[in-house]
Structure formats: C-alpha cells, structure tokens
Symmetry: C2
Subunit: 404 residues, 2 copies
C-alpha cells in the first residue's frame, strides 16, 4: 500500500478530563514515528483553532515535555464548546487542505465524533484524501459502541474518593450529607460513588441517577428510612435527575442559562444541592443537613487518576495514529472488554458514535431506583482500580462503671 | 520520679481532618509502651462518649489495624460538636476517676483545648492526679502559639490541587471560576490556593480572606481587570469573607441555622458561591461564570495527604503521651519552626490555646487585600510539599496560510 504523505492535525474538544492529554500524547508520539508524516500540528481551542489556523507545531515539542503534559489534567491544547455545522466543517476542511493535513484526530465526545463525520464527508466529496479519527473521551461515559470512555475511570475514582471521605465525615458527625455529581443524562459518574462503600453501613446509602425519575416523596421516604436505621444518611444525586414528567429538577430553580448546544446550565452552581437540602430539612425535620456539589473538581482535580484509565487513554490516542496512518481508515476508536479485566481496541464507523449518547442500562440500577446493582459494581471496579487505604478501629467495647 | 499508674483515655473533637487519626495512633501506640499504663481507652464521639462511658479498649487493637486507621481520614473515634461547660467537664472528670483514667489526651481545636483546661482544673481541685494534654488539629490553622496546626497541610494540599485543576480547566474553556473555601475567620486555607500557580498567568488570580473586608465594587473591579488581561479569571474566596461592616457576606443569604456554638452555618451550602457568581454575571455581563464550593471534601477527601502533615500529626500524638507519662505534665502540644524546613515540639499551657483563635498576620496579605505575599508562600510551601506534576506544551506556533 502506498503511503499518504502529509501532516497530522490533533485537537481536543468539549469538557476536559484528567487523562485527555494522554490521548493527545499517544497520538502525537505515535504519529511522529511515521516517515510520511511531515509535521504534527495541534489546534488550539479545538475546532475553533482550526478555522482560525491557531496551530502549534508539536513535531518540535520534546518527548519529555509531552510526557509531562500527558500527566496533566485538562486539555493542554485548550478546548471549545463550538458545535460545528455544515459551513463550519467546510471551513475546517479548507484549512486542512491548505496545510496539506492528511490525518485529523479529534479527541472528544459525541459532538466531536459528529464533527469528524461531517469533515470526513466534505473531504470525500472534494476527492481530497483526509483520514479522520475520533478519539473518545468523556467523564460521562455516555458514548455508544465502546464499553467505556477514557476519562470516566479517573472521574469515577475522584467521585469514589470524595464519597469515601464524606461518608467517614458523616459517620463522625452524623446528619444527612448530599453530594451532587456531574451527569446530565447519564448516571454512570454518580453511580461510581458506590465504590466508596466498605463496611455494610457505609454510604452513599442512596444513589439517584437521571435514568430513573425521582419522586420527591419517595426520596424523602428513602432518606427517612436510612436515617432511622443508621442515624445518618449519605445521598449521591446526579445533577441531571428528573421528576416524573422528565423535567430536570435543577432547571426548575436556575436562571435558565443555556450553552451553545441549547442545554441549560447544571454545573457550577450549588442550586440543586441546596434544593435537596431544603427538601430534607423542611419535611423530615432533620437539623444537620449538608450539601456539596462536586463541581469542576470531578474532571480536573490535579492528582487523582485511575491507572487503567491513564493507560487506555494513551492507547486510544496511539491506535488513532495507527488506524489512520498504517491502515488509512476513518472511524472512532472503541474499547471492547474481552475479560475481567482485559480489553481490545477496534474502529467503529463515525456515524455509529456521532450525536447520540447512552445512559446506564436498566440492569445497572436497582428496582427501587435508589441504588446500583452488582452488575454495575463488576462493570466499574476494574475501571477505577484500587482506592487509598481506609480502616475502622477493631477493638472491644469497655464495660460501663457509672452507667450500668 | 515515681510513676503514676492508671489508664490513658483518648478522644477526638470537632471537624475531622485527613491526618487526625495519625495523632490518635501516635498517642495510642506510644502510651502502650509504658508499663504504668494499665489500659488505653478511646472515647467514641469525643467528650460525649466520655460522659456516656462509650469506650473502646484500644489496648487490644492490633498495631496493623491502628496503622491502617492512621492512614484513614476523619475521626476514627468519631466526633462531637458538644462544647462542654463547667458541669459537663465535671462529669468528664467523674468518669475519668471512676475508670482510674490518669492520662487524658484530647485531639481538637481551641474548644477542645478549653475542655482540657477545665477538666484539668476540676481534677486539681479534687486532688486527683489527672494529666491532661491537648493535641492540636484543625484545617483552619487558627490555633494560638503553634507555628501551624496538624491537619492544615493536607487540607491546604487539597485546596492547591483543586485550584490547580480548576485553573487548567478555566484556561481550556475560559470564563470566571469562583471557588469557595472553608474558613470562618481565618484565611489560611483559602490562601493555600496560591500554590496552584505555576506559570505567570495561572490562577487563582484573586484571593479573598476573612481578615480583610470585601467591598463588592472593588471585587468586581478586580475581576474585570483580570478578565480584561487574560480573558478569564479564577477567584478563591473564604466562606467567611465579610463586608466592611464586618458582617459575613454568606450569612446575609442563608436561613440562619446556628450550630451549638452559636455560629451560623457557612459550609454545606452553595449559597455564597452562587451569590458571588450573580454579582459577576449581573454587573460585568460575563456569560460564563461558574462557582464551586469545595465543601467537606477539603477535610475528608480520601487520598490527599501532605507527607509533612502526616508525620507531624503522628508526632504531636506521640509527644502527648511522652509529656504526660514520662514528665507528668499538662498542656497543649505546639510546633515551633526552627529552620526551612525543620521543627521542634514543645508544651504550652492550656490557657494559652483555649478558646481564642488567630487569623492570618497582616504581612501574609497583600496591600490590595486580593492576594497573598511571598512571606505567606514561604510559610506554607513546606507544609504542603510537592504537588503532582503539571506542564504546558512547549512548541512553536505555525504560520497561518489562509488568514495572513
């Protein structure tokens, strides 16, 4: 097979993750090995940097620098919330052509996959060979086809460590603790809080995800039941939980700010946590109720990474370069689970991943809709790996002398 | 010197920290070495567990278990918000006497030191020899006499890692990011966010602490100035920031819930962050404004510990046992900085630590009241130690072809 000589262009889109730069570094270092690759460019601020021709020449970055960048959370090439339409994608293609870009790797979610799909079609129609690979990343874990998404395992680890600590805190000073976790439509990240449990009475005792409507009275009954049993309660809720009409509970109380995709702002505000707090305080007459919104720390906290996630994010980047440059293929890199725990990578057509998303399958959520199942625990445990040590004191009680 | 035979009693009070169990384990393991110590008891739920005689016999805990407990955040003996008065302290003393407790170690903040002081006096007046040692802990770092408090370094590290990640995130998707940090009267913890900076344009760009009143118009001008310069802004604010009248800004918008010390609830609600967010949105017309309240994660997140803090927390626990059992002294264990960085421990009278607290000294805050000084950076850096690696891409820009 004759080789296709030209440049590689890499960009990162959407919300950052803790390991998104592993994918970048994997794609760049692998691309630099191929003699037909004349240069490796990085576009700043995603697709916006392409149409603005804001490129860095990553061929001249040192390997040491790139390795350090790989360990850094959040998009090193910066990001964008732009969602390109046909005309935007046409401009992307024109810039690629002008710079003799022959390989385009876009690291992002389903919107990014859709951009890849349209740009790819533009190039085909113009009979300009441009190999386009979508490299998956999202903390929401909501992409189709792939078993799971790079970025999810590390965010899930953060959530697990956050709830493990919050549970210990809540046990030391009892009350109701509510933790609001990112996830507009998919509950995968909130569900990861289940890993915080070690002893049978450990929280989170209740987990609510967007896939199952939340009935206020039912939630309050759940909290009361846990509180009556343990004298405390830790509750995990997705920011995107909906009422039985399907309306997000948080949106009923925000100012309704929309992003460029027409989505209402759910993150970066404590409103849902404070609302759930008020529900519990006002209806159950429990005095000590605290709500934390885990916020942006979930996706960017420095120094909380799942090793498996880190490796896989690196490998999907490398595979992008291999599929495009060795095999001259287009598609989205996906992960297939082959054992417990082993995976293989494969390429799936761009239109199988573009635009659409998935939520948690029903078998991962318990019947009452307030917890996860063993099936989910088996699914997530290898993606997060081991958590830092924690232990309770194992010592006998002492007989009372004054109060018998 | 004749030895004093009897039991050791240890308890933990107030808000947990990431290393509070190191102090517990240090005190317990050291106490178990002395032949005159007949048993080592741990009171559950702080002083409340003492008057209820809820004790665990820590003499029978394995060393391995205790070491694992030491690495676990949050009070392993559980905690209380009870603030004992004279009558309560008398009951504590009565229980100590009934169980032949001769050494009482209470790990906590200035309220715990005050409890130690009163119990100690009760015993003196009853001519019952009871050696009482206060072991310092607080993430607020607001105890008198000591150079710094065990628990602070680890919480400070969490804050630094949180802002390091938030800064990278804000750089990737620009806007205004507001992070609200714990600290009712002392800004030490919020000030620790300065360690997140690496490059000159890194955030947090603005740091507000309770020691200096916040004028709304001044804060908005600060944000505007940073935003105009960098196209983005990361702001760190203490939950306890006050207006020029000295009224906490957060309390003007909460439901006014008081704890048993008469303090209004500032944590466990997103209200202050949302308020500051609204200030910026409404006055500066900046669209993307996000606020996170770091909440309980700051003091309990599993797996974020400063090594120096961990060692020192262990040592103040050990020293408590040594001062009491070898030397038959009472007091509060304190840390003196002797070099850069080296420390020594000493015992300070209980009444020098009890009740009162300290804020940041003026030389740690810049003149404009919106940042810290080099003096503070030199103070805090060794307490937190090194942070996880982060790096930006170092690569040249590419010349534009279409847009010249």
């Amino acid at each position: 097979m004759s080789t296709l000589e030209g440049k590689v262009l890499v960009a990162q889109g959407g919300g950052p993750t803790a390991v998104i730069n592993q994918s970048l570094v994997g794609a760049v270092l692998e691309s630099r090995k191929f003699p037909q690759v004349t240069r490796v460019y990085g576009a700043l601020h995603g697709v916006r940097g392409i149409i603005d021709e804001d490129f860095l020449d990553l061929t001249e970055a040192t390997t040491h620098n790139l390795e350090a960048v790989g360990n850094t959370p959040s998009s090193a090439l910066l990001s964008t919330r732009d969602k390109p339409d046909q005309a935007y994608c046409h401009k992307i293609f024109e810039v690629c052509k002008a710079h003799n870009v022959r390989y385009f790797f876009y690291i992002g979610g389903n919107d990014s996959a859709d951009t890849c799909r349209i740009v790819n079609r533009e190039a085909d129609e113009a009979k300009y060979e441009l190999r386009v690979i979508h490299v998956p990343k999202t903390i929401d874990n909501d992409l189709l086809v792939t078993d799971h998404c790079p970025g999810y395992g590390s965010a899930a680890k953060f959530v697990a460590q956050a709830f493990a600590g919050a549970n210990l805190d809540n046990r030391a000073i009892p009350g109701v603790y509510i933790g609001v976790v990112m996830g507009r439509h998919a509950g995968f990240l909130t569900a990861a809080s289940c890993l915080a449990r070690m002893y049978p009475d450990d929280g989170p005792h209740l987990i609510y995800v967007p896939e199952r409507p939340v009935v206020k009275e039912k939630l309050l009954a759940d909290v009361k039941s846990v509180y009556d049993k343990y004298g405390r309660c830790v509750l995990a809720a997705s920011e995107g939980i909906v009422d039985p009409r399907g309306v997000a509970i948080a949106t009923q109380f925000t100012n309704g700010e929309m992003d460029s995709h027409g989505n209402v702002q759910l993150s970066g505000t404590g409103a849902l946590g404070d609302l759930l707090s008020a529900w519990v305080k006002n209806n159950l007459k429990i005095k000590r109720v605290r709500a934390d919104t885990l916020g942006y720390l979930q996706r960017s906290f420095l120094g909380c990474v799942s090793e498996v996630d880190q490796f896989e994010a690196r490998e999907v980047g490398e595979k992008a370069a291999q599929y495009a440059i060795w095999h001259r293929l287009d598609g989205s890199v996906a992960i297939r689970r082959t054992g417990d725990y082993s995976v293989e990578y494969f390429l799936t057509p761009l239109d199988t991943v573009a635009r659409e998303s998935r939520g948690m399958p029903p078998e991962y959520i318990n019947e009452a809709g307030n917890d996860v199942t063993d099936a989910f625990r088996n699914y997530i445990r290898p993606l997060v790996g081991s958590l830092p040590q924690m232990a309770r004191i194992a010592a006998p009680e002492v007989a009372r002398i004054l109060k018998k």
